[in-house]
Amino acid sequence: MDTTITNILLVGVGGQGILLASEILSEAFMLAGFDVKKSEIHGMSQRGGSVVSHVRFGKEVFSPVVPEGQGDILFGFELLETYRYLSLLKPGATVVANDYKIAPPSILLGQAVYPQALPEKIKAKFPDFLLVDGQGLALKAGDVRAANTVMLGAVSKRLQIADGVWQQALEKMVPKKALEINLKAFEFGRGL
């Protein structure tokens, strides 16, 4: 039996829509015929805390949590959070990050500064790194709130799943009135 499991981590800040993004991903894997498990912690994380969502797919998935150091793909919605969770990845993993910064409390209060040159630092550790202008491309698609969908599009290229499946998953998970913009945002991401 093929026991390969692909481990995806979605990281960012509470309120960025990470739950929905990981739900669309999971839906796509299920539609493509895989076993899927997904796990995340919500609760206090709603209040702007750091959020990690785990999505795993393969023929048969046991643990809903990605084992330490086994992540294949890190999907970062915010730069600092992307950097924070690099240790969850295995060497040679793929990192796709949104070029977007949200300052945590210590930085807002002027007690710390936002670390410099994070994209370069990430690239040095994980050469398969893609920096995405999520907000910019989403705006081009018609709504800045579709930034996550741009990211999904960018990640989708790294996953062997048929085009039609992604479309189906988006149709099921995205509210009707936002669908057109999101499909466009997805295509922009996929084109990167």
Partner: protein, 591 residues
């Protein structure tokens, strides 16, 4: 049809398919979404209760009336509901009665990590523990059946990873043909006075033996035989971790964690050379297996604290020399500034904590979004034990203190928490004349757990309009003479109220009246005028930073001069609290 469901969605689906008619719960992470999904099934009468004891009693009542009934809560909720639970164990049920307890190992969102399995043993009711969403649905259905078959409430234990994890579930139909609920007089079974209870208790003990036998042949407890070198007994999400961490091991997967299937455990133990129990938190299964006289290892290897994971299990087994694992390379990133949760921009709680800090209050706190008031820069909460404890602890604390210290004691509690278990405490405080000050932060919702309605919010779980508790009147009726309502966005009025009531040598209550910023709808939160910092007038004094609003950012000046504050127009809600702190009139409406 297949769907990806969370454990909580699957439990709700299971209740629906089982023909459940009544469901009652009090929110609490990670259990909250169960009832929020049950309400989507029109066949079930689902509602929030003010607390878990009430929720369980609502379900017990429905069960005695002949309906299948569900109650859900987080682990600590079972403490509140323990009183009815222990005696419902004696009465047994009419319609099936299921209690979901959602544990939180690792305390992702809780004040302790108690292990609910102990309650099943203590109250002598069976407990099922699902290992994924598909089992959440199946076990919930089975729980209703077992409840009726064995005449007992049945507990189902979930945990954060199961409740909030998602996996694939095959949906089924709702059962039909259940008996119609009706009133039946049955005092020997339902009136638990000593004479009747003495008859019921031996039945409970017999029931446990029968359930243990049932467990030895039931499909929910199963052996998965692989290598005979290592055998592992496990249940719930830990089963998933074990399968991944120890793929060659034989496994006894328990679906019923109390009572244990003694015969099956003996059979499994005989098949393997070395027996282990892998379980999160307490050595609950391990202690019982050892008491059966069977040699096994458990907490010698794994921790009593926090969650397990495949990695932690592998590391523990490797450390004990039982397995070998190849060292995996981890690419470490340098530490970066932490990102703790914070109250939202414009949260009505913020100004109150700012003024409590300035008033040098000693704050007996409580549980809700406002617990974040303990964090810097507000630093204005000094205790937090359990829901409702703020008022009673404040009332006790003043009795211990000399008069000059008594003044400083202020209990702070949210509206939902006050209605949950704060009312009794306030009654005590008034009755016994404890001169503490109480602040009820009425943001008109149960915000912390994701904005559930409560008895003072004016709506039911189904979104229907209903009666509202009048909190100021309630405080007066409880015997508090000094009750005042204050606008928490008005910093001066808030400070004045806090100072005056702290100085009053009598019990008093201050109630705030601004809604949570995340509740939308008529009569609820409305954004004010978005503010900005006039960069010409800002002197860089940092006064506005002292409230810790996430919309205000300090921008250091690259040429070494003083930096300036900046307001993110996307985040600001226009609450004006920062504006009131600026002595230089630098903060005003955005042009």
């Amino acid at each position: 049809m297949k769907e990806i469901l969370s454990g909580n969605e699957a439990i709700a689906r299971g209740a629906y398919e089982a023909g459940c008619l009544v469901a009652s719960a009090y929110p609490g992470t990670p259990s909250t979404e169960i009832l929020e999904n049950v309400i989507n099934y029109k066949e079930i009468n689902a509602s929030w209760a003010p607390n878990e004891k009430v929720a369980l009693e609502v379900a017990i009542g429905a069960s005695f009336g002949g309906a299948r009934a569900l109650s859900c809560m987080k682990h600590v909720g079972v403490n509140v509901a323990a009183d009815p639970l222990f005696t419902a164990s004696y009465t047994g049920v009419k319609g099936g009665l299921v209690l979901i307890a959602a544990d939180d190992p690792e305390m992702h969102s809780s004040q302790n990590e108690q292990d609910s399995r102990n309650y099943a043993k203590f109250a002598k009711v069976p407990m099922l523990e699902p290992a994924d969403s598909a089992e959440c649905k199946e076990f919930t259905k089975l729980a209703f059946e077992l409840s009726e078959q064995f005449d007992t409430p049945v507990m189902l234990r979930s945990c954060t990873r199961i409740s909030h994890g998602k996996s694939v579930v095959e949906l089924g139909e709702r059962v039909t043909g259940l008996p119609t609920p009706k009133l039946v007089k049955d005092a020997p079974k339902l009136v638990m006075l000593p004479g009747n209870a003495r008859v019921r208790h031996p039945l409970v003990e017999e029931r446990t033996l029968k359930l243990s036998d049932y467990g030895s042949s039931a499909a929910i407890n199963r052996m998965e035989l692989h290598s005979s070198e290592i055998g592992v007994i496990c249940a719930g999400v830990t089963y998933q971790y074990v399968r991944e961490a120890l793929p060659d091991a034989s496994v006894l997967k328990l679906g019923m964690v109390w009572p244990l299937p003694h015969a099956l455990i003996r059979e499994f133990a005989a098949k393997v050379k070395q027996l282990f129990v892998v379980e999160e938190l307490d050595p609950f299964i391990e202690d019982q297996v050892k008491a059966m006289g069977i040699a096994c290892q458990g907490k010698e290897l794994t921790t009593l604290c926090g969650e397990l994971s495949p990695g932690r299990i592998q590391a523990a087994f490797a450390k004990a020399g039982i397995i070998k694992v190849a060292a995996s390379e981890v690419i470490a990133a340098e530490p970066v500034p932490p990102r703790p949760p914070n109250m939202c921009p414009g949260c009505p709680h913020r100004g109150v904590f700012y003024q409590l800090n300035r008033a040098n209050a000693y704050v007996t706190g409580d549980i809700g979004c406002y617990t974040l008031g303990f964090m810097p820069p507000l630093n204005a909460m000094d205790t937090c034990v359990c829901m409702g404890a703020s008022i009673s602890m404040g009332s006790g604390m003043v009795r211990a203190l000399p008069p000059e210290e008594q003044k400083r004691v202020v209990a702070v509690i949210g509206d939902s928490t006050f209605l949950h278990t704060g009312i009794n405490s306030l009654m005590e405080m008034a009755w016994n004349k404890a001169p503490a000050t109480v602040i009820i932060l009425d943001n008109r919702i149960t915000a912390m757990t994701g904005r559930q309605e409560n008895p003072a919010s004016g709506f039911t779980l189904a979104g229907e309009e209903t009666s509202e508790v009048n909190i100021p009147e309630l405080c007066r009726v409880l015997g508090i003479k000094h009750v005042r309502v204050v606008d928490p966005y008005d910093l001066d009025a808030t400070r004045l109220a806090i100072e005056e009531e702290m100085n009053r040598p009598e019990p008093s209550v201050i109630i705030t009246n601004r809604p949570c910023c995340l509740i939308k709808g008529a009569g609820r939160f409305e954004k004010g005028k978005i503010l900005e910092v006039d960069q010409g007038k800002c002197t860089g004094c940092k006064a506005c930073l002292r409230i810790g609003c996430p919309a205000i950012e300090w921008k250091p000046n690259p040429d070494g001069n003083k930096g300036k504050a900046f307001i993110d127009p996307q985040l600001c809600t226009g609450c004006t609290v920062c504006q009131q702190l600026c002595k230089f009139n630098a903060i005003g409406g955005r042009k």
